[in-house]
């Protein structure tokens, strides 16, 4: 398949890849924002002492982590209509990705928060900060330092998982490669091009993560 690798065909399909890339990017951005929101709420619930919030949060996180995205996608896409809710594919896709990644993000955030030395929490408490202030000013900035790498990992997983949305008729990046494979029977060309584009996204994300680290002013945050 490599001997007659056709760059020309790839170029011919580039516009299609471009469209797919754009879809993948904004789909992922929205989904990750959603995942962060879901994750923060779940983590906050999970860190409560009372069971009222903690138990449902834990149950949700476990259920989502223990089952494949595919099943969740079907649940939303074919299950919701049975309850009379018919949503556009894109909405279902973003919802599924957010709800799925949110569970992982929640665990990452929780682990980050628990890694903060007790003395830090006490210092915040002693100076009369409220729970929210403590979180915002003392704990989260430090937790972010440890959570940025795993969050980056989760973002990458999410970007790649978004390929699954081609199952429910969302035309994203993978779809373009598959088209090349099925129209022209050039799987090597199709897949390797997809890989190149995903790699591009990966390095983009990695740069962003590094930037956000610096941006949060973590330069001195080594102990």
């Amino acid at each position: 398949m490599l001997e007659n690798f056709s760059l020309r065909t790839i170029v011919e399909y580039l516009p299609l890849f471009g469209q797919g890339l754009v879809t993948t990017v904004w789909l992922s951005v929205l989904s990750f924002a959603g995942a962060l929101a879901v994750g923060i709420v779940l983590a906050a619930m999970n860190l409560q002492r009372g069971w009222l919030f903690r138990v449902p949060a834990k149950a949700y996180i476990d259920a989502v982590r223990a089952t494949p995205l595919l099943a969740q996608l079907y649940f939303l896409y074919f299950g919701l209509p049975r309850l009379g809710i018919i949503l556009p594919e894109l909405v279902v896709g973003i919802l599924a990705l957010s709800l799925n990644s949110g569970a992982y993000v929640a665990e990452i955030i929780r682990a980050g928060i628990l890694s903060i030395p007790r003395g830090q929490v006490e210092a915040g408490v002693a100076s009369g900060m409220t729970y929210v202030q403590r979180m915002r000013l003392v704990i989260l900035p430090q937790a972010f330092k440890v959570t940025i790498p795993p969050l980056l990992g989760q973002a990458i997983v999410l970007v790649k998982d978004s390929a699954l949305l081609s199952l429910i008729a969302v035309a994203e990046l993978t779809r373009a490669g598959q088209l090349l494979a099925s129209d022209r029977f050039m799987p090597a060309e199709g897949f390797i091009t997809i890989a190149a584009f995903y790699l591009l996204l990966y390095y983009g994300l990695k740069g962003l993560a590094a930037l956000s680290g610096r941006w949060l002013g973590l330069a001195g945050a080594r102990t």
Partner: protein, 252 residues
């Protein structure tokens, strides 16, 4: 806000307080009243419960029985707004607990800006002055990891002073300092004390005790063994335990 308490006298009132860590009775039946504007020095051997005692006052440790009343509010009372109360209690930790992601100045101004709602510019000006007072004018922008032990301790003290609380609790505030610095930092603390603050200081600096303390409390194995004016305590210790302890200090 402030609820009247029957028979209220002190700014800080321990009434038969007991605390346990597992099977260890760290605080044994503590009864102690600290008047407003009083400066109390707490001393005693390592592990006797001094840190635990003052940590109870701002609710960092919970007590098992007895009553603890601070600024007229019972800590055990669910109606007590602990967050509000804590803004009036400054605390310097034995292990400093500086925020590693903030510079020295940011460490000092964080709570004034966000808790006291002082405008940033004003808070920073005050912060710089405080840091200068403890000899750190050139370290305002250094992160804790870039500071020596003594410098970190001074930032911690400045951070506490910056809140201008009613009550100040110090846990061995000069342990990491050289004698020269100790006297400078103590001078800052003395100046603050003279402005009429209530203070409890865990320290073994007997010079400080003599100079500013109205009372010395001696703890051993979780109990208050002796309590009296510095003069009484240093010259006529009442118990064998405190006599033995003092003899070691003097021999030094």
């Amino acid at each position: 806000m402030t609820k009247p308490i029957k028979g209220r006298t002190g700014m800080i009132e321990f009434r038969g307080v007991n605390k346990w860590f597992g099977t260890l009775n760290v605080l044994k039946d503590i009864t102690l009243s600290v008047e407003p504007r009083e400066v109390v020095v707490v001393c005693g051997p390592s592990g006797s419960g001094k840190s635990t005692l003052i940590r109870c006052i701002n609710g960092l440790e919970t007590i098992r029985d007895g009553d603890l009343v601070v600024d007229g509010q019972r800590l055990a009372d669910p109606a007590t707004n602990m967050t509000r109360l804590r803004t009036e209690i400054g605390f310097v930790f034995q292990s400093f607990n500086l925020y590693p992601h903030k510079t020295a100045l940011e460490n000092v101004t964080l709570a004034p800006i966000h808790v006291r709602k002082i405008p940033r510019a004003e808070a920073e000006k005050a912060g710089r002055e405080l840091l200068a007072k403890v000899g750190l004018a050139d370290k305002v922008n250094a992160y804790p990891a870039q500071l020596s032990g003594g410098q970190q301790q001074r930032v911690a003290i400045a951070r506490c002073l910056g809140m201008r609380p009613k009550i100040m609790l110090f846990d061995e505030p000069t342990s990491a300092l050289d004698p020269e610095m100790i006297s400078e930092v103590l001078d800052v603390m003395v100046a603050v004390a003279e402005e009429g603050m209530t203070m409890m200081v865990v320290t073994h600096e007997m010079g400080f005790a003599r100079k500013v303390a109205q009372r010395v409390v001696f703890m051993d194995a979780g109990a208050i063994v002796e309590s009296g004016t510095p003069d009484e305590f240093f010259s006529h210790p009442k118990t064998d335990r405190s006599r033995a302890f003092l003899s070691k200090i003097l021999r030094h």
